[in-house]
């Protein structure tokens, strides 16, 4: 495969079967390896689409400063693209994110503004919105509400999956900005009758839900409930267990949020077996495990790893 530049190589990731974790010959699991993107995560797709859209609209011009609330991967993708295209990047990131993410962002030249751990990404979003209002010349791409986010998956991730696996019956992905599920979900729903779109939402330690008031909650503007078939909440213990299981049985070294998606994928696969139905379940490996090594997710007992992950944002 040959590309004109690194940015041009985004997407076209492998879809690999999981012969050992699949429950039967009729109910198969498939992993979409999004860690094979230039900066190692699925976020290269929305980051690139959002930048290109903003350039097309004349919002982004050379020398501009981009501002983005991010728990890490989107920031890293934007940092790479910004470096290549000559933009400055400021990321607002919760302080309870892994050290690797910070190092990667700095490496590509991004500036990091830390937001308090309590409240998780909610706080990052709130602070970024404030900064954006105070600095009108900065361009906030705003992954939670930018249609180019879901469209990147409608135009790339979705078609790739259907090309590689026309018999797909279920699509499972982590729920964050909701962009992946909205984009792939809409694409598949238009073309695959009866396809099920399943969200795996990370359930964190209590600190992350440290809001002062229930009405301070946050739902991404992109979220449209009608695209989903259902939505599961997956805690750190199950996510960690499945992340390790994926490594041990199929050799795939993935980040912790992938464990959450796999947990939900195994759930729907078991349901299909019970119902005696055929199923091809695709789930997303959003990133590799590299950025989570310092969290201790892969070492010691599961209980120890869960304890170390308490209060951390792992998706």
């Amino acid at each position: 495969m040959r590309f004109d530049s690194l940015i041009d190589s985004v997407g076209r990731t492998p879809l690999v079967g999981l012969p050992k974790l699949s429950p039967s010959a009729d109910v198969r699991l498939w992993a979409k390896l999004e860690d094979r993107n230039p900066t190692g995560s699925i976020k290269d797709r929305p980051a690139l689409w959002m930048i290109q859209e903003a350039e097309k609209d004349g919002l982004l011009t050379p020398g501009c400063t981009i501002l983005e609330p991010t728990s890490g991967n989107t920031g890293i993708s934007l940092a790479m693209a910004a470096r290549l295209k000559g933009y400055k990047l400021i990321c607002v990131m919760p302080e309870n994110t892994s050290e690797e993410r910070r190092q990667l962002l700095r490496m590509w030249g991004a500036e990091i503004i830390s937001s308090p751990a309590a409240g998780g990404s909610n706080e990052a979003v709130r602070i970024a919105k404030e900064l954006s209002a105070q600095n009108p010349s900065w361009v906030m791409l705003y992954q939670y509400g930018n249609p180019a986010n879901w469209r990147s998956h409608y135009e790339s991730t979705g078609p790739e999956i259907l090309d590689d696996l026309p018999t797909v019956t279920h699509f499972v992905a982590g729920l964050g900005t909701t962009g992946t599920l909205m984009g792939v979900g809409r694409f598949l729903r238009e073309r695959v009758p009866g396809v099920q779109i399943v969200a795996a939402e990370p359930r964190y330690g209590e600190l992350v839900y440290g809001l002062r008031n229930v009405d301070e909650g946050f739902i991404p503007e992109l979220y449209d409930e009608s695209v989903l078939t259902t939505r599961f909440s997956v805690g750190s213990a199950d996510a960690l267990k499945r992340t390790r299981e994926l490594l041990a049985t199929e050799g795939i070294f993935a980040g912790v949020s992938t464990g959450a998606a796999l947990h939900a994928a195994l759930g729907v696969a078991a349901k299909a077996v019970k119902a005696g139905e055929r199923a091809d379940v695709v789930f997303v490996v959003a990133d590799g495990g590299w950025k989570y090594l310092s969290t201790g997710a892969y070492e010691g007992t599961l209980d120890e790893a869960e304890e170390r992950l308490e209060g951390q944002l792992w998706a």
Binding site: P69, A124, G174, G210, I219, T230, R231
Partner: protein
Amino acid sequence: MAIEVRIPTILRNYTGGAKAVSAEGATLEELISNLESRHPGLKERLVDQGNLRRFVNVYLNDEDVRFLGGLGTPVSDGDTVTVLPAVAGG
């Protein structure tokens, strides 16, 4: 046996600080009414005009009840209901 309801930090002032409480009912709606009788004020934090509040997520055995039948979702002994505020990811 009853149904275990996990309460987020932000609502524990209604449960005397308890992380989990038990309640009874055949549907989520009945369960919440039963909770209200034991922990007055809680219902209003969860339900608004006959629907779950916008920023409140309720999961029955880890599945979002909005996809199961909302407040009409049947619940039974041994189930676990988790209440969480909606927060940003990504």
